[in-house]
Symmetry: C2
Subunit: 162 residues, 2 copies
Amino acid sequence: MVETKPGTNLLFLRDEDLRQGIELLFFAYRDFTAEGDTILAKQKFGRAHHRVIYFVGQYPGMSVSNLLGILSITKQSLSRVLRQLVDEGYIDQQPGTTDRRQRLLTLTAKGKELEQLLTSEQRARIAAAYKNAGADAVEGFRKVMLGIMEDSARRRFNEDKT
Amino acid sequence: MVETKPGTNLLFLRDEDLRQGIELLFFAYRDFTAEGDTILAKQKFGRAHHRVIYFVGQYPGMSVSNLLGILSITKQSLSRVLRQLVDEGYIDQQPGTTDRRQRLLTLTAKGKELEQLLTSEQRARIAAAYKNAGADAVEGFRKVMLGIMEDSARRRFNEDKT
DNA sequence: AATATATGTCAATATTGCTGACGTATATTC
DNA sequence: GAATATACGTCAGCAATATTGACATATATT
């Protein structure tokens, strides 16, 4: 059991607040992904492609199994999407140096271009929301979001503090 | 352009922070929906059913077009899911009193039971995260989430302040 | 009476996920 | 060196969810 700040009466834990929390997540995520989906549709790709492009872009040289863990999908599901992206020249695969069974993934120039196109709108949306809310609110947002996700995912954010 | 708090240096708007924001949304939403999906799978229903059950539960007597707007899907997509839920006795449809073209939706007892089962885990997850983060953080979380969503969705939350 | 709106439905298609089974290349272990 | 494990890929089949387009019915509105 975690202690709350002194003077806090936990009024924010009413059933109504929890319901609101559920809806905040639903609507924010819905609107956050909507525009990207529209762009993707024009490229004949879907949201799954977006996610792959995004994570390979952020973590160049990541292994397939690593990516599978992040996406929480099966390798068969990833395979189809990855195959398309490799075949169409968005992603490069290279054998790992220490373990040559691995296929390390990186974005090609074409892939980077698409990644930029896709995330620019999302970055702008986040930036606007952050700016509007202010630094303290952003810190609160982070805390709550970290609390919502699983421990395993939370670790990622504690590690890469710059 | 919105003014930020005085003394704020906008360091939280670095590219790295925006990237982190994208990931926070991705992982929090992924984990937030994961367990519900597992329960649903056992009931032969999917996430779409969950969303319908949830919103009809929260806003009893809501019209089909209203629900369509919230879910941002086509009526054909909703139709299949809704048909199943009505046929299997989770949802009741009644003609609107003022406009009899409408089919107003409400949960049956069976529907309410499923709704409870489905959202209880999500409520618990939100509650734990809120408690851990504290009241101030929750307020920041709300601000940022509202900023991320579209104006149209934001209105919903400004209206029903209790 | 003409038109618009709320809802439902049929058909065809795409994306994304799943399970199960099997194959290849490379590492690790006995 | 042989057996086993791991990383990855792929084929086949299935299910859920979403789409567009077309058309129908009942009721409201003009």
